[in-house]
Point group: C2
Chain length 415, copies 2
C-alpha cells in the first residue's frame, strides 16, 4: 500500500512558502501503515498537473493532492481534475450551503460570486466537508487509484485529512503495519554514535532499518520496520531499541514517538506540581515560545523576562550591577544571578537563564560570537554551563534553545 | 533554463522533518533567473534515486540534490551517483584535509574512520568545499545536465549553494531575467481583494502573472514576469504594481521583495532612534522571538516580559489588581495597562501587549477560546483592539503575532 503527495502551487517552487503540509500528511499516513513513496511539488499549470497525476497513478494506490482550490483565477486544480477524469464541474448543494454558512458565521458578509463558484466540483467526486473553509475536499477514483484533493491552507487540510480522508483510507485498504521508534540523544555527533553502536548495528536484522537524524546538538536514531503482524513487529523493534538504549544510556534522553522534549518537561513538571520561569537574553523569547506552544503550559509555566538590554538585567530582574561590571554581561556569574533572580521574581521551583552573543556582531566583552551561558536555578542550587555555538545567528539561538531543554530535562529528572 | 530539486531521505517521507532546504534553494535560483520546475522528495533507496535522477535529466538543465551524504550506513547518495555516472569513488586530498581541519578546530578530537571515508568522492566530480561540515559538495555532469550534490544540513547547504554553486551556475548558463514583486496586505480575504481589483486583473498583460498567497489574516499578492530584457521586465511589473497598490491602499502595508514586516519595523525604529518593549501573555514569547531573529535587534528592542500567570501581571508588570478583578484578565483595560506598565518598566517609546485565550481550554472569564486583546502604548497614548482568532492554539498564537506586527507598523508609521 503506497501513497504519494502532490503539492500544487508556484509559491512553493519560487520558495515563497515552506511546504509544511507534506510532513503532516506523511506522519499521519505512516501512523496507519501507509508508506509515502514520493512527494512532488509542481506548478499551477495544466500540463504539469496532468503529467504528475499520470506518473503517480502508475506508481501508487493513493494520491493526496493539496493546493490550487482557492476562489481566484490562478487556482486550476478542479478544472484539471475534470480533464484527467473525463468529468465536468457541477454545482454541489452541500458545498454551497457550507460556503453560505461560513460567510454568515465567521466572515459576517454576503459571499461574492467567486466564493459561490467554489461550490462547483467534478460530478463524480465524493465531497469531503471542510468545516474551516470554503474549498471542499474531494475523493475521486480513476481505475485502481484514489485521488484526494484538499486545500493547501494547513488547518483546513489537517482537519479534512484526519476527519474525512484517513477514516475512508482505513476502511478501503488492507494495510501492513509500520512501526517506528525514535531515540533522542544529546551531546555526541553521528559518527561517534555510529562507532559506539557498531557491533549492534552490524547484527541488526535486515527487516529493521536504522536512520541517523542529526540536527544542531542532537541526534535522533530511528528504528523502523514493516510487516503483517503488528505484535511481532513491535516486539522486534522494541527489543532492538532496548539494546540500543543500553548502549547509549550516557547520551539518551528519551523516546520521541509521541512526545518531544518540551512535552516531556511539561508532563514531568505537571506531575510533580513544580513550576518554571525563564530569563532569556540571547535566545530572545525562543524558549518561552516553545514552552507555551504546548497546551496546558499555564499549569507550570509562570512567566519569563527577556532583559535584552544589559541595563534591564539590573532594573527588571534585579541582577547586582557590580557583578556585570566585574565579569561582563556574558559570564557564568551573570547567568547564574539571572536564574536565581528569575526564580525569586516569579516564585518558581526552576528558573532557566541564557546570556550570550547571538551575533552577527560581537558584544562589549572579550567573548566571540556564539558564546552562550545557560544557567539553571533549582531547589538544589544554581549552576551554569558555557557553550560555543558558532557564528550563525539563527543557529546560535536554536542550538541554545535545544541545549537549554536538554539541561532542564536532566535537572528535573535529577531532583 | 530550468532546474529541479531532489531531496533524499526517509525522514522527509515519514514526516519527521519539514523540508526547509527546498524553499531556500528555490528563492536563490529564482533570484538569478533560474526557474524551478519541480521539487521531488524520495527515499534513501538506490532504485528510487536512479529513476528520479533519470526523470529529472529528461526535463531540466540543472538538478540540485540534497541529503544522503552523512558518514553513516544509511547514506548512499555518493555510491548511487557513481552508478548513475558510470564512475568510481576515489579519495580526495582536499576533502580529507578539510575533514581533519574541522575535527581539529571545532570537534577537538581525532576523526574516526567513518569520518575519513567522507573524503571518498566520484572521480569525475568537481569538489565544492564545505567549510561548515565534513561532507563535500559535488558538481557532476552527464551529457547536457549538471547534477549538484549537497549535504542536507541546512547551514552547510546554504553556504555551499550561495558561495560555490550559484557562481558556477551564473558563469555556465545564459539565463532570462525573472522579476517578482510582492505586495503585503492585511485585513481582507482573497475573494474580497479579487473583487476590489477585478477590472485591473482582467486588463493585466498575459506576460505578467498574479498570484494570491493567503495566510492567517494577511494576503500577499505576487506579480511575476520572465524575459530577456531586465529593464523592460522590471518596468512592466513595477507599472502594474503601482496600479495595484493604488487600488489596495486601504489594506497594503508594503512590499515583500527583500524585507518582511519585522525587518520594516526594525529599520523604522532604528532610523527614528526609538525603542520597543513587549508584554506577551497569550503569545508566550512568539513576538519577541520574531523580533530578536532580526540581527541588530538590540539597537531598539529593550526587552520583554511574559507574565503568563495572572498574578505576574501584577507582581512583575505592576498592573493594578483591581483592574483585573473588575474587567477580568482578558480585557481591553488589562491589555492597555500591560502596555502602559511595560513602556514604563523598560523605558521605551513603544510597548506592545497581548492578553487572550490561546486554548484549547477556556480561561476563568466569559470569553471564548481565541479571544485576544492587543494593546499598543506609544508617545501619543494607548489603545487596544479585540480579536477572535478561532479555536486552534497554534493558529491563535500565529494570527495574534501577525496582527501585532501589523498594528505596530501602522502605529510607528503614524507617529
Amino acid at each position: 500500500m503506497l501513497a504519494e503527495i502532490i503539492t500544487i502551487g508556484d509559491e512553493i517552487l519560487i520558495g515563497q512558502i515552506v511546504d509544511t503540509n507534506s510532513a503532516f500528511i506523511s506522519q499521519q499516513l505512516n501512523a496507519i501503515g501507509v508508506k509515502v513513496y514520493q512527494i512532488t511539488s509542481i506548478q499551477d499549470d495544466e500540463t504539469h498537473i496532468l503529467s504528475a497525476l499520470e506518473d503517480a497513478k502508475k506508481r501508487v494506490d493513493l494520491v493526496l493532492v493539496t493546493g490550487g482550490l482557492g476562489p481566484t483565477k490562478d487556482d486550476i486544480t478542479k478544472q484539471t481534475f475534470c480533464k484527467f477524469l473525463g468529468d465536468t464541474l457541477v454545482e454541489n448543494q452541500q458545498v454551497l450551503s457550507n460556503i453560505k454558512h461560513i460567510f454568515r458565521t465567521y466572515i459576517k458578509r454576503e459571499p461574492l460570486l467567486s466564493n459561490l463558484v467554489q461550490a462547483m466540483v467534478p460530478a463524480t467526486a465524493t465531497i469531503l466537508n471542510n468545516i474551516h473553509g470554503t474549498a471542499p475536499g474531494m475523493w475521486m477514483e480513476k481505475e485502481n487509484t484514489v485521488f484526494v484533493s484538499m486545500p493547501g491552507v494547513p488547518y483546513e487540510m489537517k482537519h479534512l485529512l484526519t476527519q474525512e480522508v484517513l477514516p475512508r483510507v482505513i476502511k478501503k485498504y488492507k494495510r501492513p503495519y509500520i512501526y517506528h521508534k525514535t531515540l533522542l540523544t544529546y551531546g555526541k555527533g553521528e559518527s561517534e554514535i555510529q562507532e559506539q553502536i557498531k557491533d549492534w548495528e552490524e547484527a541488526l536484522p535486515t527487516a529493521i532499518k536504522l536512520a541517523y537524524l542529526p540536527s544542531l546538538g542532537r541526534v535522533r536514531l530511528r528504528l523502523s520496520s514493516t510487516g503483517p503482524n503488528e505484535k511481532k513487529l513491535k516486539e522486534a523493534v522494541e527489543q532492538q531499541m532496548d539494546l540500543l538504549y543500553a548502549l547509549l544510556k550516557d547520551i539518551a534522553v528519551g523516546y520521541e514517538d509521541d512526545t518531544n522534549i518540551q512535552e516531556r518537561i511539561a508532563s514531568l513538571l505537571d506531575l510533580k506540581k513544580e513550576s518554571l520561569s525563564l530569563a532569556e537574553s540571547c535566545t530572545g523569547g525562543a524558549i518561552a515560545r516553545e514552552i507555551t506552544a504546548v497546551p496546558g503550559a499555564s499549569a507550570y509555566f509562570k512567566g519569563s523576562v527577556v532583559p535584552y538590554e544589559t541595563h534591564q538585567k539590573v532594573s527588571v530582574l534585579g541582577v547586582d550591577e557590580t557583578l556585570i561590571q566585574k565579569h561582563t554581561v556574558v559570564s557564568a556569574q551573570v547567568a547564574q544571578a539571572m536564574a536565581t533572580q528569575c526564580a525569586k521574581l516569579f516564585g518558581t521551583h526552576y528558573a532557566l537563564a541564557t546570556t550570550g552573543i547571538a551575533g552577527p556582531t560581537k558584544g562589549d566583552g572579550e567573548d566571540e560570537v556564539g558564546t552562550v551561558y545557560i544557567a539553571i536555578a533549582s531547589p538544589s542550587g544554581v549552576f551554569s554551563e558555557k557553550f560555543s555555538f558558532g557564528n550563525l545567528r539563527e543557529r546560535v539561538i536554536k542550538k541554545a534553545t535545544n541545549k537549554a531543554f536538554e539541561m532542564l530535562l536532566k535537572e528535573i529528572l535529577k531532583n
